[in-house]
């Protein structure tokens, strides 16, 4: 090359290098920088092609990040990359941190034959390094053979060094910008959390709090949707209590709920007490696909935890994929924690309000009940003398003379009408007053209460059979009231089977559960006629009866009242094979007694007068385990004086208890005798007390109650 030409080219190269440097150093966006670089190099130097490779995170591959023209675009779209230290010139330049030149590509063994650049005859690969560390390489290619001189290499390497610094600066700029954005976003999220907290902690009305919360979250964070779920009473379902916008309102109206521990993110967040995030909902197994929220791409479910208790969860959803970062989680969880406290406060307030309302209701009910009871007493008492007056009139009628017989018959009929009405009023009074009596719920053997009732009603043993699950738990009941309810249901069954050839009653007693609450179920079925389905709802109504005028229609409503007072349930249904079954559910006693809490007397001699039934076996076992001697009353002569205490079941199957009490009284042992019964009534109590017994008490069904009974 001539001197002048050489000088001109060198000058042009220096000029071009300076221009490239000037251009690229002012560009801070890395992608723009690289694209502009390849264009400037080709335009300035007149090269066929230029491209910039940057090393990937592993440092093993040089990945094409910018390429000139259509060839460059095609290779970029293919994800063109070359192995560092590999056979390509880029691979060699990056592997060795050394410029590589191929003046005739056909002679260069390490050149990668590139179908996108068929005209290349000369190629130069210049490493891009900052502080001795290779970050990539620059390739420049020419259609001429031996296109590059030593001067070119020097000029282009200088430019490449400038480019490397510019790329490094651009990366630093990008990273700094990212960190700045991250810090700004984090600050904004914390401000938003504070705003939500400030907004929610001052709201004490639960419904307002929930609705304001979802609005504040969406408005502050710019989310697509937010919703608050609260656990139901059983703790098995999370119920949507508030949701943003129309979708939220529709879901709340539809009773949207998710199972705790189920496949939904809310269910998982509550069960595991930790935030769940789906950055791409399509890939999240536990994401609940919700037709109300079709645009959701990211979702976060945050548990609402107060102390050691989970009260629900918040869902926040975004239309963007990967919308949540680690900072978002901590910020939103802080917000959720504040919300949980606010909800807990609102709950406490609501509980206080409910307690107050319940107090007002109870007092109101007590006032009404007292007034009603007094009114019933008043009316009933006024009717009491009527029946006796009728009886006296009837006696006087018989003594009348000189009155036409038909007039006497008419008067007798009127007296019968008056007497019937008065007896009905008295019966209504007793049926209404009964359930209104004071309740003293305690653990009791349902089987024993039922069988005592059956015995007291003199229902023949052959007419009734039992299927009782072993180890059925005790029920929490007032045994006198439950006995009354059983009496009503049994009476109903007896009347229903009056016209049946072989009347039969079947009783099942078994544990059951509904809504997470354990009950003892008593199913009493009869083989009488079915109740017409249309009449089924009416049987619980006061004064509804299909029987004669002697029946006021209060038995079953009284039963409902009794069972409801002990938080139980009473239902009836027709059986497919005919007949009707009544099911009484009473709450089960689930606690277990500890021996340390009870202290039975020891070393005593007890006489137990009872049938061999579930209750007497319990008492015998408890007393024997406490190191007492327990004897059963047999048929032979008994030395009552030999016992320290005598316990008599007032309702015996084989013998009238008053016969036994008479024997005891004659033996002078009445004062150490206790009479017990599952339910007590005035007449029977006084019948027993007139033998001089120590007391008449409700049967104890637990060791603690037995201790109290034995005094």
């Amino acid at each position: 090359m001539e001197k002048s030409t050489l000088a001109e080219r060198r000058a042009a190269l220096l000029h071009a290098g300076a221009q490239v440097s000037r251009n690229i150093t002012s560009i801070l966006d890395a992608d723009v920088l690289l694209a502009r670089t390849v264009d400037i190099i080709c335009e300035t130097f007149g090269f066929y092609y230029a491209g910039v490779f940057l090393l990937d995170e592993t440092g093993e591959w040089a990945v094409l990040r910018a390429g000139r023209g259509e060839a460059g675009a095609a290779m970029l779209s293919e994800g063109h990359k070359l192995k560092v230290g590999g056979l390509s010139m880029i691979g060699a330049a990056t592997g060795r941190n050394k410029a590589m030149i191929a003046l005739d590509v056909g002679d260069e063994p390490v050149r990668f034959k590139n179908p996108h650049l068929p005209l290349t005859r000369s190629e130069m690969a210049l490493p891009l390094a900052v502080g001795g560390k290779v970050i990539g390489a620059l390739t420049v290619q020419s259609v001429e053979e031996a296109a590059f001189s030593e001067d070119d290499i020097t000029a282009l390497q200088a430019m490449a060094d400038q480019l490397a610094v510019a790329i490094h600066n651009a990366h630093l700029y990008t990273e700094n910008s990212r960190l700045l954005m991250q810090a700004t976003r984090h600050a904004r999220l914390l401000m938003a959390a504070a705003e939500v907290s400030k907004g929610v902690t001052s709201i004490l009305d639960l419904d307002e709090l929930l609705h304001r919360t979802v609005d504040i979250i969406c408005d502050t964070y710019g989310f697509y949707y937010a919703g608050v779920f609260l656990l139901d009473a059983t703790g098995t379902w999370a119920i949507l209590r508030a949701g943003r916008g129309e979708a939220g309102a529709a879901m709340v109206a539809a009773g949207h709920k998710l199972q705790v521990g189920g496949l939904s993110m809310i269910g998982a967040a509550i069960a595991e007490r930790q935030a769940h995030i789906a950055l791409d909902v399509g890939e999240e197994a536990v994401f609940f696909r919700n037709p109300y929220l079709p645009l959701t791409r990211s979702e976060m479910a945050l548990p609402l935890v107060v102390g050691d208790k989970v009260i629900g969860a918040v869902t926040v959803q975004s239309v963007e994929a990967a919308a949540f970062s680690a900072e978002d989680i901590s910020s939103l969880q802080a917000m959720a924690d504040q919300l949980a406290i606010a909800l807990d406060n609102a709950y406490l307030l609501r509980e206080l309000e409910a307690a107050h309302a319940e107090l007002v209701r109870t007092k109101t009910f007590e006032a009404i009940a007292t007034a009603t009871t007094e009114a019933i007493h008043w009316i009933g008492n006024k009717a009491l003398p009527i029946t006796v007056s009728v009886q006296r009139l009837r006696e006087d009628l018989s003594a009348l003379s000189g009155v036409a017989p038909e007039r006497v018959d008419s008067m007798r009929e009127d007296l019968a009408l008056i007497e019937s009405s008065a007896r009905l009023i008295i019966r209504v009074k007793e049926q209404l007053i009964g359930p209104a009596r004071e309740y003293r719920p305690a653990p009791a053997m349902i089987e024993d209460v039922l069988k005592d009732t059956v015995r007291m009603m003199d229902i023949p043993a052959a007419m009734i059979d039992y299927a009782i699950t072993p180890d059925v738990p005790l029920g929490i009941v007032d045994t006198t009231q439950l006995g009354r309810a059983f009496r009503y249901v049994l009476q109903n069954a007896l009347e229903a089977t009056e016209n049946v050839a072989v009347p039969h009653l079947h009783v099942e007693i078994a544990p059951t559960a509904e809504g997470g609450i354990r009950y003892v179920a008593t199913r009493l079925s009869n083989n009488g006629p079915s109740i017409p389905e249309a009449d089924m709802p009416k049987i619980w109504a006061s004064f509804y009866t299909t029987k004669d005028a002697e029946h006021p229609g209060l038995g079953l409503p009284a039963c409902v009242q009794i069972i409801k007072q002990i938080d139980g349930q009473l239902t009836a249904r027709n059986l497919p094979e005919g007949g009707v079954v009544f099911e009484l559910l009473v709450p089960a006693f689930v606690e277990r007694e500890t021996e340390s809490t009870v202290s039975l007397p020891a070393g005593k001699r007890f006489l137990l007068v009872d049938d061999d039934d579930v209750w007497s076996r319990f008492v015998e076992r408890a007393l024997v385990e406490a190191h007492n001697t327990v004897s059963r009353r047999g048929d032979g002569e008994i030395d009552y004086a030999a016992f320290d205490a005598i316990i008599v079941d007032g309702v015996l199957g084989q013998v009238d208890s008053t016969v036994v009490l008479n024997d005891i009284a004659r033996a002078g042992a009445a004062e150490k005798t206790l009479v017990v019964a599952s339910s007590v009534r005035v007449e029977r109590t006084l019948d027993w007390m007139r033998f001089g017994v120590r007391d008449v008490l409700i049967k104890p069904y637990t060791r603690a109650a037995l201790v109290a009974t034995l005094g």
């Binding site: 006796v388 006296r392 008295i426 007053i433 006198t480 009534r681 005035v682 007139r690 008449v696």
Partner: protein
């Protein structure tokens, strides 16, 4: 002779009182009645130790007490006063249906029996049995 048996009947329910009076009269008993505890105590005290003392008393529980106030335990208070004046005096306590604890309380206070109102035929038999046993 039943006419020789004198019953003190105490109840503030006028209709009930009158009905029981008639039933007892018709059964042959002699009856004097009072509508409250104070009047009953006066009647009892006036006849006590005289030629025609009461043989038995039938008392309502819920009625005006010695201060004239309606008191659910007025009958029990009167019972205690009567027994203090004449230990072992037979008393039947009257009250409404199904009040077991009050019945037991009355028996513990010394009542011979407790009677649910409205069953006067049984009451006559009860009075008979107590008086005859005395």
């Amino acid at each position: 002779m039943k006419e020789d048996i004198k019953v003190l009947l105490v109840d503030d329910e006028k209709l009930v009182l009158r009905s029981m009076e008639k039933s007892l009269w018709r059964a042959g008993f002699g009856v004097e009645s009072a509508g409250n505890a104070a009047d009953a105590l006066t009647l009892f005290a006036e006849t006590m130790g005289g030629a025609a003392p009461f043989d038995i008393a039938i008392l309502d529980l819920n009625m005006p007490n010695f201060e004239g106030q309606v008191d659910p335990n007025a009958g029990l208070k009167l019972l205690s006063r009567l027994l203090a004046m004449q230990p072992g005096f037979p008393v039947i306590v009257l009250t409404a249906f199904d009040e077991v604890e009050r019945a037991k309380e009355a028996v513990r206070h010394g009542a011979r029996a407790y009677f649910v109102k409205g069953r006067e035929t049984d009451l006559i038999a009860l009075v008979d049995s107590i008086v005859n046993a005395a």
